[in-house]
Symmetry: D2
Subunit: 275 residues, 4 copies
């Protein structure tokens, strides 16, 4: 059983929590705790050996913790997700394969695409695919359609697996800390169109990818995972794009595993990740 808690910090929180667990004869197998001193914020993730009645445990914990405490008890963590895509397959297929073999840590409820190129691969895995074009629709109309499709399902997270439409603040606000995105990252950062062409012309030696929650606070929300892949002058801009896809697939897979295992806390514009 996984227990994750975050709340304002005060002395005695670990004692309070661990006393409750000891009283209920629950053995802590693994515990990660962190206090963000700047924010005076307390985070803990506990894995306990035994199961327990969740409501009782929730009430017991709540009774000894600050009123703002966010307590989640997951007897068997397994999430449900909706995936949004455009044309690129690499992140989607990694998710579909793990879903098919039961190693994703989540179930894919459906895939929504603003192009229909990826419908066939979803069909091969028996996953519903909704093709919702943005053509001849306003952004609001398009996003309402997408929202309606998402609403048919009870998803814990919406994974933007190379979904290439910019989402409106209104849309983002509907799914707080539920939208997970992946995108390429460069050192230095390149603004404007075709960053891979810019990276090529600049001779960069690294291409990165960042998986993050989508918020309206910043151009990019709380970071879940980042990795890089080395490149060099022998790669064309197209080769760099291919290399970018490899690292995007890998980083999104890692980020989803961390999120699905309840290892990621979000507070303000930052994550605490108990890897």
């Amino acid at each position: 059983m996984i227990i994750v808690i975050h709340c304002n910090d005060r002395i005695g929180l670990v004692a309070a929590i661990s006393n409750i667990l000891a009283q209920q004869q629950l053995n802590i197998v693994s515990m990660r705790e962190h206090v963000d001193i700047q924010e005076s914020r307390f985070y803990v993730r506990l894995q306990v050996e035994q199961g327990a009645d969740e409501d009782t445990l929730q009430q017991s914990l709540q009774s000894v913790l600050p009123a703002d405490a966010n307590i989640i008890i997951n007897p068997l963590p397994h999430k449900k997700i909706v995936v949004l895509v455009t044309k690129e397959y690499h992140c989607l297929t990694d998710i579909l394969i793990r879903n098919y073999f039961g190693t994703l840590g989540a179930s894919v409820l459906c895939v929504i695409g603003n192009h229909d190129l990826l419908g066939d691969i979803c069909k091969r895995f028996g996953i519903p695919f909704y093709y919702i074009t943005h053509d001849e629709r306003t952004k609001a109309e398009f996003e309402d359609k997408v929202t309606a499709a998402i609403s048919l399902h009870d998803a814990d997270y919406i994974v933007l697996a190379k979904f290439m439409r910019i989402l409106s603040p209104e849309f983002v606000a509907r799914f707080p800390v539920k939208l997970i995105n992946i995108h390429h990252s460069f050192l230095p950062a390149f603004v404007g169109a075709n960053p891979y062409k810019q990276a090529f012309e600049r001779g960069v030696k690294l291409i990165g990818a960042t998986a993050h929650f989508v918020t309206n606070d910043l151009d990019e929300g709380p970071i879940i995972a980042q990795q890089i892949i080395p490149v060099n002058h022998t790669l064309t801009a197209i080769d760099m794009m291919k290399a970018g896809k490899e690292i995007e697939t890998s980083v999104l897979a890692k980020a989803l595993r961390l999120v699905f295992e309840d290892r990621v806390f979000v507070y303000k514009n930052k994550t605490i990740v108990f890897e």
Copy 2:
């Protein structure tokens, strides 16, 4: 203040420890806990915001923990080390530089070499250098001389910074969990002389380094840190040796930081490292 504890596991250990800390008004800033279920062994490292009387805290903790509990309280972790070398400078100078600028997390008490090539560099940093040759001495005589030199100092750890003599079980037994070694590692492993030549002839694509405690249990004791560096066919055997030195320097530096910050537990032939 850093508190590290390991003992046999039982329900309620975290509660017991954190109650003591709460009673003494100590706030836990960072906590890493791990239970090795296979061994039923409990490990915890706590960083607390405030200082405290160490003896009182030690007694309080001991009173609520199993009798076998190993409790270390470090108000200001700073270790003392002796360094053993042969001819290669790369690991030694990394240590000497950090020592000189106060960023090692430890003080270098002296350096002992079975060759005298590295005496000058030690002298430049004002570090005592003992030249103890193994020529015309039996291993026992040589090791007795080295032991005598070490004994002049009150060292927490003895760092084998490319010390190329094989140590006898008797010598190793004098310094349990105090001897830290660094050596190159290959995939696949090469036995016999000149592993870099073998690695070259075999076309390996990675060269690694392993920092570990020295024990007599196995050819290699509990592993503290490992890293690799990519290589390819354009490197000669000598280039591979140079690459190996870079990664050895880096891995030993990391291992020493982890040990000096009290992040490394040793139990049987294994480490628990709270990075």
Copy 3:
């Protein structure tokens, strides 16, 4: 167009080759050359901008090169492969997905499994799957069946994508420099059963994977690619196995790309890889 040549070294080889290309108005876009001085062996890979008549070019090159010269001219490198599997899906599905989207650099002709667990996923991609059990068959009988199935196809390479049967020298001898294998690698190496359990008990900090050609010369043939993934004490032996699968998938994908792009030369027990 890709041209790869290897032969015994002598002065003037690059001049001889590049004169031929210049005479035929072929511009060299990228050239990687290497001389293994120890073996006095010359290797070159050229990418030229234009196409050319292959037979004429082959004859022209042969006329100026040593008699032992191995010359391969690939107007449009695209290989054909057969994949052998047992029960694990991770390497196979990475290949199937890339094959389906036309990004593998090769075509999968068929998949052969000694268990039938992976037949369904092949069927979903329309790839023929041959289930050839080793039960109630001698190794020779089993391998003859596999050989017969392979022989139905004109494969450039046979990829052992977690094929867990040890192949006989007779089988290996049928496919020189055509069998590509992937397996986990550890530092230190663990012999015997269940290496992940050994790695866990030993507290290793890295898990690696090695892709290599299969030969009878050694327990492991010429290495194509190697990578590692960091691990720590929080991973169980099963978690380590999962991490191992991630890195195996990644290393095999890289190795196949290098082989399919004619970047890998094999000579004796070593590869030259022009990445």
Copy 4:
């Protein structure tokens, strides 16, 4: 002997060069060639087994190459450098140590600091240290003093080893493709003061470093080498700064090795690096 050439591309360049070498009985041990098709620019680095008369070879090569050809022949590559520093030691000491042990591939002629904190360490290695404060001096006055000190020495490169003053375009123009800088890099990029604090508050998972030539074209010139180090929420802003120093040291060491071995070409705002 190392030969590096770059010039506008045309058919037959490799033939022309290799014919000259063959005529002079020079055997090519290693050759890296690259054509930047976008720029129609040809780059080659050759390592030949034997020595030769440099003037004759230079003239022979020039006679068959385009008039714009940049030809450098290094019988024994060994550079001379001046190092500029401010307060931080980590990059400087790495250079000083390698210089002392003869493994830098260059000689350190002197060190110039705008603070005097690093004078003592230079003295310990017998390297002249010039303390040139920027206090009570205009930028022009300060830079003239620095230029005068540099001019006393015949340096191939000026290494900015954490030199923290922004250099004027006039200063930079005095040393084209001679100024090598190292700085931290982040994903995403942070502008303004105290980027480590920003990185901490943003919860970044990677800290990078970039070594580059200094130009006036852009905020950052042609990139020589880049690497990253993973970080997480347990690091304070100060810990991140420490991690940044480790990776800066490592990246600058790599960049200097590449430059000193004549492996780096600069054209416009980009490097070609034959690693």
